[in-house]
């Protein structure tokens, strides 16, 4: 059953050193900023972080990196105009990097959530990102074998949730959240508000409650938009 919490520290309690943490968001849209900040205070270290980017500016994921908590980044696009924290760590040899094509990143997490052992993917064939990977020709087309990425924890930013744990997102802030929620042992979502069970349209629920362990309700700490 999903726990609905208002205390960010409680929301991230128990995340262990060495965990693989899936962090949603694409740029700032869907980024679970309050959960990341709480994770920094919580102190877990030696983390592998899976996220599309590798932090922007000095806050959020960049702050987690700056605090030295991340051993390895798995992402599609670390280099951005404001990714100076990651850039510095990488150039100093203080962080490992695995670059994965964006769709393969999403599909590998989907595979983890869907119980798929591995899949043949056409993306990246013949490129440096396929080096060392098993390939196979199927029906005349070449594919690379890709394996699931499973998280110990997923931190997801959704728009709203209900008391049972169902989630809805808003516009392109949906991005990686629904996939990551399926791929982690412990899924923690921050939402702008929590509604009573039954208030979300069952046809429009994006993440069913089965995938959500904890919800951090930000409504008490955020100004209503």
């Amino acid at each position: 059953m999903t726990a609905v919490l208002t205390d960010p520290e409680e929301a991230v309690a128990g995340i262990a050193d060495g965990s693989t943490v899936l962090i949603g968001g694409f740029g700032m849209a869907g980024m679970p900023v309050q959960l990341i900040d709480a994770l920094i205070r919580q102190g877990a270290t030696d983390l592998t972080v899976v996220s599309n980017n590798a932090g922007n500016g000095d806050t959020g994921l960049a702050a987690l990196l700056a605090a030295g908590r991340v051993r390895k980044m798995i992402c599609s696009f670390p280099r951005q105009s404001d990714s100076w924290v990651f850039d510095g760590l990488y150039r100093a040899g203080k962080i490992e990097l695995e670059v994965v094509p964006q769709g393969t990143l999403a599909e590998r997490m989907r595979a983890a959530g869907a119980g798929i052992g591995a899949f043949y993917c056409p993306t990246g064939v013949g490129t440096p990102l396929a080096e060392g990977k098993e390939t196979r020709t199927i029906d005349g087309r070449d594919y690379v074998l890709e394996y699931p990425i499973k998280g110990d924890v997923a931190l997801v930013g959704a728009h709203a949730g209900d008391r049972m744990g169902n989630l809805v997102y808003r516009k392109t802030a949906r991005n990686f959240g629904p996939v990551m929620a399926t791929a982690a042992t412990l899924t923690i979502a921050q939402v702008h508000h929590v509604v009573e069970t039954g208030e979300l349209d069952p046809e429009a629920v994006v993440t069913p409650c089965i995938y959500v362990d904890r919800i951090l309700d930000l409504s008490a700490t955020e100004a209503t938009p």
Partner: protein
């Protein structure tokens, strides 16, 4: 198996003018996108193609961060941090739009459902290999984003680029020297100096701007044929 294709269509050499400006190039690409197509425009210059799509074209724009039916860039009060394009620029929503998550969005791409994507490039080879994600410089931090997914998945990949680097090196090449994004995926190359089609029998020049086919042939290491002389 070699087949000989002869057409009566001829390459158009626009000689009484200079090379295409960036806006003219974007307009040219926009002109060639069939009405009603589903299209992804890459980050940077390809994004500007949207400004040149004629009203009523029925072209539907996809953005890989999970939207079909993307509208123009948002301004002023329309800016919504929850609604951006793949370049993280605030955009708007058109009637008939839909949202989906990243795995669904890239399934749409990988599954071959997009009619056209338009990408920038460092290099394109005569077989249509694309290099657009990494300069191969030893100190560069690799970052691929959705480039490989688009190159592999779209039914047609259009490239927009200058034909030569600032140093005068051709970017349409016999063999890419930069790390590849995708193999044999580019079908058309739109450049400031000319438009090229890449097919199973090599590179054809469709139009030139401020230069001739003969001039381009002399400046490129790639064999380029005028239309009507495809082998």
């Amino acid at each position: 198996m070699k087949t000989t294709v002869k057409t009566t269509v001829k390459t158009v050499e626009h000689l009484g003018r200079g090379p295409l400006g960036r806006d003219e190039l974007a307009a040219l690409v926009a002109r060639d996108i069939p009405p009603g197509s589903f299209v992804n425009l890459g980050i940077g210059q390809p994004t500007t193609v949207a400004d040149h799509l004629p009203a009523g074209s029925g072209v539907v724009l996809h953005t890989e961060n999970g939207m079909l039916g993307m509208g123009p860039a948002a301004r002023g009060d329309d800016i919504d941090p929850d609604l951006t394009n793949a370049g993280k620029v605030p955009v708007t929503e058109l009637p008939g739009a839909s949202y989906f998550h990243h795995a669904d969005s890239f399934a749409m791409m990988r599954g071959g459902h997009l009619d056209v994507c338009v990408l920038g490039a460092f290099q394109v080879s005569e077989r249509g290999d694309l290099a657009n994600w990494h300069t191969g410089a030893p100190d560069a931090i690799p970052a691929v984003g959705g480039a490989m997914d688009l190159a592999t998945g779209a039914k047609q990949v259009f490239v927009m680029m200058t034909l030569f680097t600032k140093e005068g090196t051709p970017k349409l090449v016999p063999e890419c020297t930069y790390p590849l994004t995708g193999l044999a995926c580019v079908s058309r190359v739109y450049t400031d100096l000319g438009v090229f089609h890449i097919g199973p029998h090599g590179v054809t020049v469709v139009e030139t701007y401020g230069t001739s086919v003969a001039d381009l042939a002399s400046r490129l290491e790639v064999a380029v044929r005028p239309l009507g002389q495809e082998e």
